[in-house]
């Protein structure tokens, strides 16, 4: 009973907080668009790519994509490490 009360109260507080933020934002008219307008105006000239989204991903923010593919690689290496021992037929030892 107490747990339900605590959870409900914290949910109410969070809903009020997020809802206040959400109602203050305006949909459809972003406030600051200087950087994106620069990308849209000069992106074709600077990268030669018609798709501005790809231009941002691979050229303007290439380091972001580099870190992202590194994260993907690390996650897949982690999955491989987790299942590597099971293939050889030997079980995990208990401690």
């Amino acid at each position: 009973m107490k747990k339900v009360l605590v959870v409900g109260a914290s949910l109410l507080i969070m809903a009020a907080f997020f809802g206040m933020i959400a109602l203050n934002l305006t949909f459809g008219s972003p406030k600051t668009t200087d950087m994106d307008d620069y990308f849209l105006r000069n992106g074709q000239e600077l990268t030669g790519s018609n798709n501005e989204c790809t231009a941002v991903v691979f050229d303007f923010r290439g380091f972001d994509t580099l870190g992202e593919s590194t994260v993907l690689f690390c996650a897949i290496v982690g999955v491989g490490l987790m299942f590597r021992k099971m293939q050889g037929g030997e079980e995990y030892e208990d401690e």
Binding site: V7, L11, M14, A15, F18, G19, I21, A22, L23, L25, T26, F27, G28, S29, P30, T33, M35, D36, F39, L40, G43, Q44, N50, N51, E52, C53, A55, V56, V57, R61, D64, T65, E68, V71, L72, A75, I76, G78, V79, M82, F83, M86, Y92
Partner: protein, 114 residues
Amino acid sequence: MLWNLPFITVVVLTLIGLVTVLLKKNIIKILLGINILNSAANLFLITLGYREGGVAPIFTLAPSELMVLPTPQALVLTSIVIGVATSALVLSFAIVLQKKYGTVDIDKIRRLHG
């Protein structure tokens, strides 16, 4: 009220995801909550970058020159792939836990207590 409907959807999704992550005991359900939170963050970024009457930022035979912001879409593209990778990792954890303990209930996995 209706003009802010995407932001309200973001709030609802965030609350659902938080409740799922905090209250559920099953690891698969916790992963579903994390994915709902991920979707809420993606929807929030996409919604912030929408411009009234804009089209997708692709110049190939575009219907008009008024385009939505390209940077949030690029960030969401990054975020989706990372979400897939982390989901695969957590599901692998769930498979290993199921094989070792016979359950994915985090209360029953007592050996995690140390």
